[in-house]
Point group: C2
Chain length 232, copies 2
Amino acid sequence: MSTTKDKILDAAERLFADHGFSETSLRMITAKADVNLASVNYHFGSKKTLIQAVFERFMEKFTADLSSEMERISNGEQELTVLDVLSTLIKPISKLEDLRPHGAGVFMNLLGRAYAETQGHIRRFALERYSEVLNQFTFLLHQTSPHLHKQEMFWRLHFMLGSFIFTLAGHKALQEISESDFQQKISIEEIISQLVPFMSAAFSYDSTNNPLIQQDNIQNIGMTLSAGDVSS
Amino acid sequence: MSTTKDKILDAAERLFADHGFSETSLRMITAKADVNLASVNYHFGSKKTLIQAVFERFMEKFTADLSSEMERISNGEQELTVLDVLSTLIKPISKLEDLRPHGAGVFMNLLGRAYAETQGHIRRFALERYSEVLNQFTFLLHQTSPHLHKQEMFWRLHFMLGSFIFTLAGHKALQEISESDFQQKISIEEIISQLVPFMSAAFSYDSTNNPLIQQDNIQNIGMTLSAGDVSS
DNA sequence: GTATGTTTCAAACAGTTGTTTGAATTATGT
DNA sequence: ACATAATTCAAACAACTGTTTGAAACATAC
């Protein structure tokens, strides 16, 4: 038997992903969940905290899976490649799909919206709450490419983040296009499996002597992902 | 002297980028523009069409600049590289910055929001209105990498699109982080100058024999960017 | 069975939303 | 100068927003 709280979370998660946060009213949520309007404020306090709760349910599972994946590859003897590190993302993302139907897409949709939020209360919340896992990931990635300046790492990380969020958040539309143009439905896992080596190649590229990049502008003074230092 | 119409567009453009479409009310816009509330509906018909108008003002300039850039590199004798094609984006994006203060950031912010829009009335509008330039760009890019399957091109294009939109839409926040962590303010042009070769490297990567990618899944049957064929 | 705490419910709250109206104002053309 | 058209304006519109209220229903424990 599913509780009122869960029914609200399930309905909200789907509606948020489909219509966005502010375009989804509490009345839409409670109607879909078949619960009373006031129960949202009773169980979650406010719409803001409901959004965080929806977000947290995914993030909890994702970061746990990613952590164990990172630990797994860290225990090996041989040196890690960029592809090794980025590949740790595949399973945790795919697993979200098992968690709930279209889970991965919904999660990335939420992630994208959370990131685009300009008040940014979700982004701040997420960066503080999950800074450990984030820092561990950037630490591993930095180990594979120690020649990269800290600053360059920072930008490349966000370039990559953009691809992931954008592609997976909009994967529903992209899947439809792919199906009508190529008569081929591509699964989330297949998308990530293309995206990971694609991004690995980008990450492995050596920018030295590239005229577009002025090396003298780049310093080497500590690296963060905007919150906390990399554990060293 | 600036007309009422322009004052509305200027105010709306800034507010949309800062707060999003649905989070920006017409009263916020008309207050900032110092015009009467009803003038929005009088001059633009509705909020929806105002959003399109704001978007179009940027897109017009951008696509015009990109077109001439593409024509420029097409006239050369030697074969084009991926870097050549992607580099055509640098100037048109940078030029938006001259158009209006923070133009490029505002534009990409709008682009990102337009793309995330799930009703997608802006995306549909943009894809139809500017399909020519889009198709010319994908055509040039395909020439540089004829070995790539059409389907692979499609995905790589969207991977890249994600990086561009995400990074430049959020460049304000990223710039601030870069400044506090590295004591270095990076301009939009510098960001693109890093992003372009980074993405070129990803694009140039050969996926043959990559175990993550099942080649037999990939067909070769016409390539679109979701609207219209590549001019051949 | 009665008391206590938890959860549901319909109704109302005050505030904001985009849009419309009709009169007042300004500009244009002759 | 006059007539016609284009624009501005304050006011109101109905619809919707998140949140609160206080009574009803339910569950739990003694």
